[in-house]
C-alpha cells in the first residue's frame, strides 16, 4: 500500500514537472487533464478505450521483457496485426458471417503480430542480430507497409484519401452503449491480463520464461536451452501486440489509414515498465496512461503539442522509477 501511495504521489509530481517543462500553466493544465480523463461519462469511456490497446500491448511487452527479450517492436507488431486483420476483412468482404468474421479478423491480427515478432526473434537466435535494433527497424518497415497497404492493395476504390474499406457494423466489436466508445475489447484485454498473470506465475512454461529473464545460465544449467523459451516469449509478445492492433481496428476505427497507429505499441513499453512488468501493475499503469492520453486532448486549449505530453510524462516516469529503484537498493545494502 505504501508503494502504491508513493507511486501515485510520484506520478502526480511528474505531471507537474511535465507541465512546467512544456510551459503549460500547472493548475489549469491539471484541471483540464482531469476533466478530459474523468470529467463525465464520455471522458471516462475515452480513458478506458485508450487504455485498452496500451494494456494489450503492454502485456505483450511485459512477457518478452520478463523473459529477458527486449522487444521494442510492439509498434510494428501492432501495425502488422491490424494490417493482417484488414487483409482478412477485405477477403471476407461481402460474404463473411458476423461473429465468424470478427473472430477471423482478430485471429489474423494475432498471427500477423506474432509473425512480425518471429522475424526479429529468428534473426536474433540464428544470425545474432541485436533484437533491440532489429525490432526498432521492423517498426519503421511495418509502418511503411501500412502506408503501402492503405494506399495500394487494400485501398478503398473511389476514395480520394488513402484508406481501407469500412468494416460492416455487424463485424465490429460489441458496444454496450451508443453514446460512448467503450467496446468489448476492454473485456478481452482484462481477461487476457488475468490469463497472462496465470501463465507467468502459475504454469511451468511461465516459470521457465521468468527464470530465463532472471538468469539464463541457471536455465541452461538445468538443461533447458534459453533460445526456444525466448522465441516463444517473443511469439506471445507479438501476438498480444498484434491483437492490440486488431482490437483497435474492430473496436474503434473500423478502417485503416496511414495514421491508424497512435504509437500505442511504442507507448506500451513505458506502460509495462512503470507497471513493474507485472500484469496487475501493467493494468494499473495502462489505465493511468490511457486516462492521460484522453486528458491531453483538452490541453490543446493552451496551444498545440498536447499529444506529445504523454511522451514527456512517460519518459519522466521511467526515469523516476529507475531513480527510486536505485535508492531502494542502496538503502537495502547499507541496512544490511
Amino acid at each position: 500500500m505504501k508503494v502504491a501511495g508513493l507511486a501515485i504521489l510520484g506520478l502526480f509530481g511528474i505531471l507537474v514537472v511535465g507541465l512546467l517543462l512544456g510551459g503549460v500553466p500547472v493548475v489549469d493544465g491539471l484541471r483540464l487533464l482531469f476533466q478530459g480523463a474523468f470529467g463525465d461519462r464520455f471522458a471516462i469511456s475515452q480513458s478506458l478505450v485508450r487504455a485498452t490497446p496500451l494494456l494489450l500491448a503492454g502485456l505483450g511487452v511485459a512477457v518478452a521483457w520478463k523473459a529477458g527479450v527486449f522487444n521494442i517492436g510492439g509498434e510494428g507488431q501492432l501495425v502488422i496485426g491490424a494490417l493482417a486483420g484488414a487483409t482478412i476483412a477485405k477477403a471476407l468482404h461481402g460474404f463473411g458471417i458476423a461473429p465468424l468474421a470478427t473472430i477471423s479478423i482478430l485471429l489474423a491480427s494475432v498471427v500477423g503480430g506474432a509473425g512480425w515478432a518471429a522475424v526479429a526473434a529468428w534473426l536474433s537466435i540464428k544470425r545474432g542480430v541485436n533484437l533491440v535494433i532489429s525490432t526498432i527497424l521492423l517498426n519503421f518497415i511495418g509502418l511503411q507497409l501500412l502506408v503501402y497497404g492503405v494506399d495500394g492493395p487494400l485501398r478503398r476504390a473511389g476514395q480520394s484519401a488513402p484508406m481501407t474499406e469500412q468494416v460492416p457494423d455487424a463485424w465490429m466489436l460489441w458496444r454496450p452503449s451508443r453514446q460512448t466508445d467503450v467496446h468489448f475489447g476492454v473485456v478481452i484485454a482484462l481477461l487476457l491480463c488475468i490469463a497472462v498473470g496465470y501463465f507467468l506465475f502459475r504454469t511451468r512454461k511461465g516459470y521457465l520464461m521468468r527464470a530465463t529473464g532472471a538468469n539464463p545460465q541457471f536455465v541452461r544449467a538445468n538443461r533447458y536451452p534459453p533460445e526456444p523459451i525466448q522465441f516463444q516469449a517473443m511469439l506471445i509478445s507479438g501476438a498480444l501486440c498484434g491483437l492490440a492492433g486488431g482490437v483497435q481496428y474492430l473496436g474503434i476505427n473500423g478502417q485503416l489509414t496511414a495514421s491508424f497507429s497512435q504509437q500505442y505499441g511504442f507507448l506500451a513499453i513505458p506502460v509495462a515498465l512503470v507497471g513493474g512488468l507485472h500484469p496487475a501493475g501493467v493494468a494499473a499503469s495502462s489505465f493511468f496512461f490511457g486516462a492521460l492520453f484522453a486528458g491531453t486532448s483538452n490541453l490543446s486549449r493552451f496551444g498545440g503539442g498536447g499529444s506529445y505530453f504523454v511522451y514527456v510524462v512517460q519518459g519522466l516516469a521511467v526515469l523516476g522509477l529507475l531513480g527510486y529503484q536505485f535508492l531502494r537498493e542502496r538503502n537495502e545494502v547499507t541496512n544490511q
Binding site: 521494442i72 545474432g128 542480430v129 535494433i133 526498432i136 518497415i141 513505458p270
Partner: protein
C-alpha cells in the same frame, strides 16, 4: 550519376552518431537514447541558429545539448547502474515529447516551414562540418587504438574489473566515452537540421539514431568502418530520393522503407562478431 559529396552529406548525421557510438560501445555503453539526442540537438540547433542568425552557434549549442543528454544518461546508467536499454528508451521518450510539444507550441500544430541560415560551402559542396566528421572519425580511431586512454576505454568495455584493479576509475572512463557519443550524436543532429534539411520537423530524425547503433555492429566496432558503413546507408537514402523522382510507379512508402530494410539486411549478413565488447550493456557494479 552518383554524387559522392551528396552521399556524404546524407550520411553525415548517421556517421557522426555511429562514430561517437563506437567509442561509447567500446567502453561498454550502448546509448539507445541516440535517436532522441539527435532530435533534441536538431531542435536546439534550429532554435539557436534562428535566434542568432548564425549556423555555427546553432551547431555548437546543438552539440552541447548532446553532451547534456549524455550526462543525464550516464547518471542513470553509470552512476546508478540501471539498465541501458531502459534508460535510453526513457531518454528517447522525453526528447520526442519535449521537442514535439515545444515545437508545436511555438510554431503551431501544422508546423510552419522554417528555413535556417545555411552553412558556407567550399567548392564542390563540402563544408567545414563534413571535414570535421572525417577528422573526428580518424581522431577517435586513433584515440581508441593508439593511446593509453583508448586502452582504458576498451578495457572498461571488455573487463571493467581489471581496469579498476589497475587503479583507474571505470565510472570516469565510461562517462568520458559516453560524453563522446553524446557530443557526436549532437553534432550529427545539429548538422542534419542545419546542413542537410535546412529546417526542423518533430519526426525528422526518423530512426537515424537507431540506424547508427546498427551500423556500429556492422562496422565491427571500428570508427573508420563506421563512417564508411554510414556512407553505404547514405547511398541508399539518396538512391531512395532519386528513385522517387525517376520511378514514380514504385510506391513511395516502399522506397522510404528501403534504408531501414537495407540496414536490417546489413545486420543479417554481418552475423555474430568476436569484436563485440564483452561487457557491452552490462552495468558495472564494482569489484566483488
Amino acid at each position: 550519376m552518383i554524387d559522392a559529396v551528396l552521399i556524404l552529406r546524407y550520411a553525415a548525421p548517421i556517421a557522426f552518431a555511429a562514430v561517437g557510438e563506437t567509442a561509447g560501445q567500446r567502453a561498454g555503453m550502448i546509448n539507445i537514447g541516440l535517436e532522441g539526442t539527435m532530435l533534441t540537438s536538431a531542435f536546439v540547433a534550429t532554435k539557436v541558429s534562428l535566434a542568432t542568425g548564425s549556423p555555427w552557434v546553432g551547431i555548437i549549442v546543438g552539440a552541447v545539448a548532446g553532451l547534456i543528454l549524455a550526462l543525464l544518461t550516464g547518471v542513470f546508467t553509470i552512476r546508478m547502474q540501471q539498465d541501458q536499454v531502459v534508460v535510453g528508451t526513457a531518454v528517447n521518450l522525453l526528447c520526442f515529447g519535449l521537442c514535439g510539444m515545444l515545437f508545436e507550441r511555438w510554431n503551431g500544430a501544422t508546423g510552419q516551414l522554417l528555413s535556417l541560415p545555411p552553412l558556407p560551402k567550399f567548392a564542390g559542396g563540402l563544408d567545414v562540418v563534413l571535414l570535421l566528421l572525417v577528422v573526428s572519425a580518424v581522431a577517435i580511431s586513433f584515440a581508441l587504438f593508439r593511446t593509453e586512454w583508448g586502452l582504458r576505454a576498451r578495457t572498461a568495455g571488455e573487463y571493467p574489473a581489471s581496469l579498476e584493479a589497475a587503479g583507474y576509475s571505470v565510472i570516469r572512463t565510461q562517462f568520458q566515452a559516453l560524453l563522446i557519443s553524446g557530443l557526436m550524436a549532437g553534432l550529427g543532429g545539429a548538422y542534419y537540421a542545419i546542413g542537410v534539411a535546412g529546417s526542423f520537423a518533430p519526426d525528422m530524425i526518423s530512426g537515424r539514431g537507431f540506424m547508427a547503433i546498427a551500423i556500429v555492429t556492422f562496422a565491427r566496432w571500428k570508427p573508420i568502418w563506421g563512417l564508411l558503413s554510414a556512407c553505404l546507408v547514405g547511398y541508399f537514402e539518396s538512391l531512395q530520393y532519386q528513385l522517387q523522382m525517376t520511378h514514380q510507379d514504385i510506391p513511395k512508402s516502399l522506397l522510404i522503407a528501403l534504408p531501414y530494410a537495407a540496414t536490417l539486411l546489413i545486420l543479417v549478413f554481418s552475423g555474430r562478431s568476436s569484436n563485440a565488447p564483452a561487457a557491452l550493456g552490462q552495468p558495472y557494479k564494482g569489484m566483488r
